[in-house]
Subunit: 655 residues, 3 copies
Amino acid sequence: MELGVCYYPEQWPTAWWADDAKRMREMGIRWVRIAEFAWSVIEPAPGRLEWAWLDRAVEALHAEGLKVVMGTPTATPPKWLVDAHPEILAVDAHGALRGFGSRRHYCFSSPVYREQSARIVRLMAERYGHHDAVAAWQTDNEYGCHDTVLSYSPAAREAFRRWLAGRYATIEALNRAWGTVFWSQCYSGFETIDPPVGTVTEANPAHRLDYRRFASDEVVAYNRMQVEIIRAHSPGRPVAHNYMGFFTEFDHHAVSRDLDIASWDSYPIGFTQDRAGLSDAEKRRWMRTGHPDIPAFHHDLYRGMCAGRWWVMEQQPGPVNWAPWNPAPEDGMVRMWTWQAFAHGAEVVSYFRWRQVRFAQEQMHAGLNRPDHALDQGGVEATQVGEELRRLGLSVELAGQRVAPRVALLFDYDSHWIGQIQPQGADYSVLHECFRAYSALRGLGLDVDVLPSGAPLAGYALIVLPAQLHVSEALAAALSASGAQVVVGARSGSKTARLSIAKPLPPGRLAEPLGLTVLRVESLPPGVTETAGFDGGELHQQRWRERLACEHADIEARYTDGSAAVARRGRMRYLAGSPDIAGWSTVLARAAADAGLPMQHLDDGLRVSRIGGLAIACNFSDQALEWSPAEPATALLGDRRLAPRGVSIWQLTNH
Amino acid sequence: MELGVCYYPEQWPTAWWADDAKRMREMGIRWVRIAEFAWSVIEPAPGRLEWAWLDRAVEALHAEGLKVVMGTPTATPPKWLVDAHPEILAVDAHGALRGFGSRRHYCFSSPVYREQSARIVRLMAERYGHHDAVAAWQTDNEYGCHDTVLSYSPAAREAFRRWLAGRYATIEALNRAWGTVFWSQCYSGFETIDPPVGTVTEANPAHRLDYRRFASDEVVAYNRMQVEIIRAHSPGRPVAHNYMGFFTEFDHHAVSRDLDIASWDSYPIGFTQDRAGLSDAEKRRWMRTGHPDIPAFHHDLYRGMCAGRWWVMEQQPGPVNWAPWNPAPEDGMVRMWTWQAFAHGAEVVSYFRWRQVRFAQEQMHAGLNRPDHALDQGGVEATQVGEELRRLGLSVELAGQRVAPRVALLFDYDSHWIGQIQPQGADYSVLHECFRAYSALRGLGLDVDVLPSGAPLAGYALIVLPAQLHVSEALAAALSASGAQVVVGARSGSKTARLSIAKPLPPGRLAEPLGLTVLRVESLPPGVTETAGFDGGELHQQRWRERLACEHADIEARYTDGSAAVARRGRMRYLAGSPDIAGWSTVLARAAADAGLPMQHLDDGLRVSRIGGLAIACNFSDQALEWSPAEPATALLGDRRLAPRGVSIWQLTNH
Amino acid sequence: MELGVCYYPEQWPTAWWADDAKRMREMGIRWVRIAEFAWSVIEPAPGRLEWAWLDRAVEALHAEGLKVVMGTPTATPPKWLVDAHPEILAVDAHGALRGFGSRRHYCFSSPVYREQSARIVRLMAERYGHHDAVAAWQTDNEYGCHDTVLSYSPAAREAFRRWLAGRYATIEALNRAWGTVFWSQCYSGFETIDPPVGTVTEANPAHRLDYRRFASDEVVAYNRMQVEIIRAHSPGRPVAHNYMGFFTEFDHHAVSRDLDIASWDSYPIGFTQDRAGLSDAEKRRWMRTGHPDIPAFHHDLYRGMCAGRWWVMEQQPGPVNWAPWNPAPEDGMVRMWTWQAFAHGAEVVSYFRWRQVRFAQEQMHAGLNRPDHALDQGGVEATQVGEELRRLGLSVELAGQRVAPRVALLFDYDSHWIGQIQPQGADYSVLHECFRAYSALRGLGLDVDVLPSGAPLAGYALIVLPAQLHVSEALAAALSASGAQVVVGARSGSKTARLSIAKPLPPGRLAEPLGLTVLRVESLPPGVTETAGFDGGELHQQRWRERLACEHADIEARYTDGSAAVARRGRMRYLAGSPDIAGWSTVLARAAADAGLPMQHLDDGLRVSRIGGLAIACNFSDQALEWSPAEPATALLGDRRLAPRGVSIWQLTNH
């Protein structure tokens, strides 16, 4: 459990650097990320390398014993490179070049850009790879930000054709897999296939899915190129990438296979306004705290990569600039978010950024310090966390000692893409289905692992598939082999790997274990709720409803017209609709009880996580709340009464 | 009254075909439409024709006595043709090519595509034109689907210039007709005129209207080319095209002049969600039945073409995939829609599609059979209709014996285009005005003919012009000659044929017969309702209001400020606003009473049509309702109590 | 106080002209604007000048003693010019040419278009510059209409580079000013800089702001070119341009520096529906009168240019055609708008247009006369104003005798651009902040000058800066030197001239005089209201909230959490949020009281202005209201009881 910060020495007078470093150390900061947007400062003209300033900056940090995370600057290719090679630019869905002037304007498929990236990464790795201060690396910055994974450049088209040839071998196999007999879409050769863009109405879904997979693979390959160069020149330093929240344009698991640490950038308030699919009422309710489960969901998601090693690389330190509206965090939130991340197993929480900068695009983005260098509220709270960490003596090793959750929730990027390509209802989202189920589990006081469907499932007592649209043979087998209670959300198993309707009919490979068939599905317009009785209460389903034939399943809940809303066979349940969080909670509580899991029904502003013998409780609400562990425990920080935005930490006696 | 189905043998194993055909016949199906998207299967490479599979498919159907509707496959030009001739692609309003990968990517004005279309149609007609099984043809598929009538290609520009030269002869005439003296728009020659697209603000309305008319004429010419080839090679077989619902991009009357049968594709639930201009509350109310008058309006519209011969070529068989939300039909709706179509005079109702396909864009579109070939709910209901038809002994000839409705409602595509080009209020729609008036008439139990304004009007007792923006001399004369009650909606007669303000002032040619002048018009923002007393009740007008000088007209209803809301001169009435359905109902009931028409005020879920001595009642609501004919009659199917989604058929004694 | 009208002789038969002129004169009209869209009629082919018709038209007007405002026809370059020089077309943000077919399709930066414009202006000025009838000129028409100031043509790019070089001299200075060290944006030379468009996410804000300023300067230069030609050839005739309402794409003050008269086009009902940022409820409330303060705000804004000489060049005469919805004015509004303009100091109110035209884009735009030449309601009311002017004997000189308002409200276009580039909350608008504060002042019965921040501020008792995002040294000094009460809205002073965060921290140069620092800002999502107690009442703030450190300021109002909502130091107040009109009214009433200004709290439908010894009251509401001056006065027109849409004019005794 260590603190870090993101720092841009190139944006400040050299004379400030030593003092900055000193104050960082005093604040309890151990890690400093630098250089990830500095290409045009490092190399202001082709081949003219200016290392002196960066050398000095690294030394200044080193002098205070700070550890550097060196970022490769490839998210922002300089103007001279764009002018010399405009073909490195990405191309949007309308055929327009995505121009210079902000960031992430490159196309992952450009061979020229791969070569130039390799060159600058190699130069940096050669220069700093063995420096004592350089203790970790970050590749690029926020792959996919601003919708930059999908590019329709000529280079991407050529690469896609090669990718298809590699995957299908013969054009006949592709025609069969895509079902090109439909609408006269048959292809005579891989060289005749274009990206699925600019069509009169939707393009073939298998074609679209393959383009999504191809584009994700391009990110993987690009990142691997960087990692390999860094590893060759900077042995022993872990390599991370900083992911974002609710980004789904590439398979983060696949990229993480080449990394040592999965890190992410946690902006709970921006995500609450912008990307979580929340209602306007929820956006207002959580506007100054963020929805409590948004950071938690991502913590648990990214912990499922890189063998559990993960960081928060950028932690929101105050108001930001990029959401449609940008409320300020309540006092105490920066501290609470930090503890929440540690509670979920973060090794490091690193704030973005050290000091608010007066100029350019992010001038309205707060830092730990104000532009005039006075400590801002975020800095005050970071200092407090630094002191608390010191006082409690919590080490970074604790991050690895998380008590293994007994609940697994499955989320596949590929499944989400299928849902995006064939939503069937305009507001359907696999990601939001998963988030609602996750939030329900957390409200029951349960710790959760968010896992890809290929992860080992042994040892879990409860496995939840909120919207696993494709179920592989391996997953079906793993579920059968598991002794866990399994809750399967609507649409799960409904599609093949090639985005066709599954055989047998949905839920496909889960039809036999669940003992049921989905006869009919429908998406429901906004404002329509289908109600079912369950456990004496009501289950409200929106957006989606199915009609089942329950050949071998018991019906646990029925819609008002009598058809099944929840069906069960043995230890597996199926939901024939898309419940709200309360509905998920009802069903999951029953399944968790069947699994013998201890639960606590928490206020929707209260969240608890367990880590290495500790239980950490966070009160996101504006009311004081009471909470203490059910098991014997001693309060290390705070007590049973949690003030609004309060944190308490308990040492569990029998751990 | 016969049943049909749409079938894609190329999408299924050859081994299934014989059984498919056998089951179709057993279900009571007589017609099978095939081949309309099969170009790349028929001709996988330029000039390489593969007829064998299609020969076999036709034979398989023929073997069971099924009649084939052969579709020309021109809606989906193959990739090899697009690659060889990219100039066949349509161009969108932003200058982008509308690319290969879905369907309808061609430009109607492309000479190359016309030539290629003629070639493939000729080849098909030569091969199958005299086949015993081939009993009808369909040209192309759903002209205009996905907004594909308007193209801005170089070929379209050239054709438009020729079209203008043909229409105006001299550039001076065009300048005069368009009023190009306004905003310095004068042209020096036809070759300087571009399509009305990409302008800074709206282009000249007459210019825009001419482009709409030109584009419509291109569809007419393209279709005629196909029809002439088919007629030459397949004598005696009627030729149809399958229109869609609420499509207005071309003049369907003009296309129909070259056809033998007007057919259309009836998807009541999708249209309810997507195109009828209904409120969110109405969308929810009718989400699983479709609005009752959506199919009826189109039945009556398309019956007004091809001398009354019309089919439903594609009948929704279950949930579909293409609307923003896609609820599933209530049980009974597929049967009810079929009977409703027969009740309006359909010769054939053909379901889309035989079997749900597992792959490609429409994999979520239900069929009569599930993907695993088990009968789906739509198949169950189609089978029921087949049995009922057999039992009642209703023949296809009955379709032609519709008792001539006494009510005519006028709808011109051209008038709708005028309304789109000069809406004056953002939510104004000629089509929706007509739909509301139509729905009101149907709620009064009246049978209606929906006619173009050029149709003969003799014999009608009530003629309704909900929004006839241009009134021709012939129409004005026909209305004068008619002894019918006439109800004229706001804006009628307000424009010349060249989209100028009419002389005399609006209602133009109707000013004298109505005895009034429209002094002022206004569009009303959403949420504004102008109320007028009428017949002791209230008339609520939204969207539009006018102020009249009633020189020779009596004022039947006044707005609260005293100005006229409904004015009348003799047997003609004028509405100075846009009423809701209830408002239309109030005014039309008065006019129908004046016309001596017998009415029945029906529940908004109940609809009745009369055909060949039968009265057929359909209950779209979720309540049981009572209904029986006012005249002596015997129930052939069902009785006076109609269960929810129930149908009853009565033989009228004195027919 | 004179009346005028806009007239298009080229659109009507020559035979009508004499009668038109006669009727104009009889109606009391003195001024007639002509020719501003007539290029293709004047010069139907390159170099072929057809003056005869225009000569005759001028003579016809002259014969009735009417004074002509001659418009230069450059807003509508003819087709032959576009075909010969397509490079004169503007280019939109997606790189598309803005095509011929409507108006304003030219790029201000095109050297070819400047040359062609100079040529046609010179030809017109040479021909009519000394004509007795020609008493004034108008350049072009509504610069900026349809978003036409920003163009991304190659010519604009080149001109921008030159503009930057002129402004920054060295590329290092530009890099520093823009903060290009952020996100690797450093430039190596001016020739490498592109317009800030097509970037992946937002471009550098200083880059964007400079592009806005450059584009505004291009308008200034283009207009100056025309003015210089006109002055050279038509000495003694004032030159005007007709601005629009709520247009902010260029700096109207800068353009006005080259003009003699600032005129504008007042369409209160269209602006109410389309551009004022009003709620749906407000749009409905004022749908047939327009919001009372929309014309007033612009009157007072444009009076702040050209040393107070201003006209309404186009006055809405009835319903228009261009807003999303176009309600008709209540009877009496055309008269009231005219009197309201005179009350604010207009020299001339000129109606648009003489007669509604039957054809082309504006056929649904009313005129003083109907298309059949009968007088329309607008004409009736214009006639009434003409008679009233005659009867009261009010001369045009009165316009210059406005009693100097004691209240100044500052509005800078530049500040608005900063707010658009860095809104921080999606609904933040400097213009709308200013409008709300203005409306509050008017509701207190105060006369207001709307001024740019560089205007002299001596003599004002109350100065309001609703959202002065950049505060110059000169402004700060002027405020200090002034003895006025000053009310400063949130965000004021927060930015430097280069769009960075101010030093000292916001409110920057106002931090010391206000005695406070803005510690934190936040934008508030829709539906969130932050309440503060003030003067026993409540202050409701939406959209924006700040947290202050009040080092030397007193807190006059606190949010419910105790932090400052209104702070005061001496005669300066600061608002830490964005109040609604009622909130502005509360704070401004207190400041006005402190300034010793007499106030009257007016009904929100009642507005009063003072001009040259007169007080003119207008009742926009649909209720009769009572009002009379607080000081001794005699009613010249109407009396204390104002009927709905009524006007009363009082002679103040002690003036």
